[in-house]
């Protein structure tokens, strides 16, 4: 059989696929695994619409080869919600109308998640620079920044509550 | 009989006149009258035009009545983006 067999983890699930050596992770996610949340906006790593987390690091999946993810962990937008409970970022994006056409939204959510995992209280400037790799043509970014800021607050409160519960025993 | 002003390139179809007078109680009747009096305007109408009545532009609604004394204009049919 031609092609490369790959075993990996996507959104916590063990996954196996066979791909051509030239196929990107984006191609694999969309065409082999049916995960069409990540979008191809440019194919050259300039728009961020294909953003995923690879071992916790933000990458453009159009710049990663399918064969490279053997034994690694991939997180996509499809894995952000906890069952039917939306992630605070997803909730706040909706509440703040931080999407119009929505095609860039999966990429932004993943990039914002990566930001908040390493910086739980980013300033406006830190949010803007962290998201500078994600292009949006509809919103002018205004409501996106507000949403990320609000979600950061939600996550800090959740973290605090968790610590309290742990301390309580 | 409404006075119809023509704007832009449409004046070519009425020999350069800035306005003409034709019968018409609705946009449809007006365009039919224009077509009869000025055959060259039929092609322009076929390509797409708009009619303004007292400053409001109508692109499709040819049943729109033309009130007595209204200011009527014939314009290019524009699309948006």
């Amino acid at each position: 059989m031609k092609g490369i067999a790959v075993s990996t983890t996507v959104n916590g699930d063990a996954v196996e696929f066979v791909c051509d050596a030239r196929e990107t992770l984006l191609d694999v996610l969309r065409n082999h695994l049916g995960l069409t949340g990540a979008k191809e906006g440019c194919g050259t790593g300039d728009c961020g619409a294909c953003s995923v987390l690879l071992d916790g690091q933000l990458v453009c999946s159009c710049l990663v080869l399918g064969a490279e993810v053997e034994g690694r962990e991939i997180e996509t937008v499809e894995g952000m919600a906890d069952g039917d409970r939306l992630h605070p970022l997803q909730k706040r994006f909706l509440e703040h109308a931080a999407l119009q056409c929505g095609v860039c939204t999966p990429g932004f959510l993943v990039a914002a998640k990566a930001l908040l995992e390493r910086n739980s209280n980013p300033s406006e400037s830190e949010i803007r620079y962290a998201l500078a790799g994600n292009l949006c043509r509809c919103t002018g970014y205004d409501k996106i920044v507000h949403a990320v800021h609000a979600a950061a607050g939600d996550l800090r409160r959740q973290q605090k509550a968790r610590k309290k519960r742990k301390a309580a025993g | 009989m409404p006075e119809v002003r023509l704007f832009g390139g449409l004046r070519d179809a009425v020999d350069g006149a800035e306005s003409v007078r034709v019968e018409g109680a609705t946009i449809r009747e007006l365009l039919q009258s224009l077509g009869r009096e000025y055959p060259r305007i039929r092609e322009r109408i076929g390509q797409g035009i708009a009619v303004s009545i007292d400053g409001v532009i109508y692109r499709d609604n040819w049943d729109q009545p033309i009130p007595e004394g209204a200011e009527v204009g014939l314009l290019l049919r524009i699309a948006g983006g």
Binding site: K39, G43, A49, A97, K143 | G8, I57, L75
Partner: protein
Amino acid sequence: MANDSKFTNQKFKLVGTRVMRPDGVDKVTGRARYGADASAPGQLVGAILRSPHAHATIRKIDTQKAEKLKGVKAVITSADLPDFTGGEGELYNVLENCMARGRALYDGHAVAAVAAVDAETARRALKLIKVDYKVLPHVTDVDEAMKPGAPVVQPVVKTKDKKAGPTNVANVTTYGHGDVDAGFGKADIIIEKSYKTEQVHQGYIEPHACLASVGPDGHGELWVTTQGPFAYRNWCATLLGMEMSQLKVTSSEIGGGFGGKTHVWIEPIALALSRKANRPVKLVMSREEVFRASGPTSPTSIDVRLGATRDGRIVAADAAMRYGNGAFPGIWGEVGAMAAWACYDIENVRSVGYEVLLNRPKVAAYRAPSAPMAAFAVESTVTLMAEALGMDPVEFRLKNAAREGTRASYGPTYGPIGIVPTLEAVKKHPHMRARLGKNQGRGVACGFWFNFGGQTCADLIIDVDGTVGLSVGTVDVGGARASLSLIAAEELGIPYEEVRCNIADTASLGHNDMTDGSRGTFSSGMATIFAARDAIEQLRVRAAKAWGIDVKNVSWKDGKAIAKGKRKSLTLKEIAEASPNTGGPISGHSQVVADGAGVSFASHICDVEVDPETGGTKVVRYTVVQDAGKAVHPDYVEGQFQGGAAQGIGWALNEEYVYGKDGRLQNPGFLDYRIPVCSDLPFIDTQILEIPNPNHPYGIRGVGETSIVPPLAAIANAVSDAAGVRMTHVPMSPPRVLAAIKASRAEKAPTG
């Protein structure tokens, strides 16, 4: 009367509230499906071979090797696309633009296409197609194209006003009134300036994509990202020689359009491939293809002459506006000429629009097409005049603003319009009083757009559990489903959550015009209101039946039928539940040609900081003031204002098509075609004015386009203020700003 479109000035319970959009969860979880997200069993992958020459005769195309390649199921050229346009010039141009017919007219022009079992095979097949080109001289600059001796793009085109031979000027149109020469004779100050704007693209993040399937019975289905499934169906069916009802078009979610998805590019090709291969074909444009071969907007070259008297009144205005049309003639210069002076009340005014052909892609509509460039030239000159007169730029505009009764420069007399309110709001806005720092400057500008209505229909279906399905035909580009659901809920008097809005396919609803011209919420909103009222008529009849009384004694209020004079009422739920036995399913329908959309105005304020060493500009503050008539969902109206402003900022500061001497596009990608990123922009403040549109029951005006019209000029005025030199060439990228600063210093430097 049920279908009366006059403004009713009612108090709203739901319209105007900020609710969650119904398609939102799908979009934040990755479930929403866009053009490239659908697949069909047995599908092939389509790919297009494109001309690498800006202008060439195609002597021969040899597809034999490609056809023989294993895995290739169809190869087509224009030989497979007979002309079914019946002499309709516009449609023939579309056909020729979709696939070259004997001549390549721009770098990227489609020449052949293949459908193969996978992308890799399709790519290899393209490489095996041999095209014999005879390269011809090309022209890509608007002013160069108008010079005598310039390469002629379309030999059959002659300027209608001239008896001379073929030229690149496809048409010249003139608008205005009065006597400009006499007017200039009266002026105390005359300012003459020339401006240039480079070509930009709509820049939607989602490339064109479709899945086409034509069966052996000639019936076809097309899943496609589009602003107008009905228009796409009509064009594709005609071009393929199909009857319209044989082709069903379903719009996917759309990842941005802004006018670029109101034209067909690859869709007829995908259908033709599918028909030939007898299998579904998925055809997606790469980003490079989007830039090279889907319509950008016009590059322009504009001369403006403005005359005013010392008391601050404009007495004469004249503009010569040369708009690049790309390889096929359009009306872009004419629309620019119509929009140019629309904001002002001028006694002697003229604008002349030129349609100039170029060896560039066929120009397409981009959000208020042609108006931003016109506003750039006019509003820059208006500010220059204010400066020359020693007047405040807002006061000068107010003194000359168009009002009710003003003869518009494009012809008709204005009814009630909103430019003065937007200027008054700008005057009062705290932004105008904010302190400016070092190297900072401020600019203001106004903008105008026409807005449209159009053919619209809607079905409002009342399900047996009393919830409502609203089916509309206007694609939702940015949140309209929420607004339309609010309108339906408002009319019926039921909770917003009990309405679900769907975008219908072309087989399920009558014709709907495209979502363009700022018409989506305006038109479908109107159709929704009428459909709801139609449904209410029927609900009243059912209630009357249940009570055994005359229907004229039944009224409808707050989601209930109420019997006159009695304390009896029936909820919508109760009537729906009983519907199987009272006459069957209940639904309201409306078909309307929505007209009377009304023109709209906006005024913007912009502060920038210019680095005199790098020429780099940072936007530090931006405010949009625009009249929406009635903001059905304020979040999404704000979003339209902010989005249009952001596109204008990109156009003003960075975006441009760069063509080489070889006529090839040098920057067909997001790295070198630089649109604004998150860190480039500040928060964008918005102020929504609500001056009701008298021709809509809720007073709604279109909002989507106007906000892209002022930014080029607002930013040019701000950059000119900050840098101390007048900028006349957009985009004002760092090299241009630096060059302008250097030139102005050289001018001012003492000689000798």
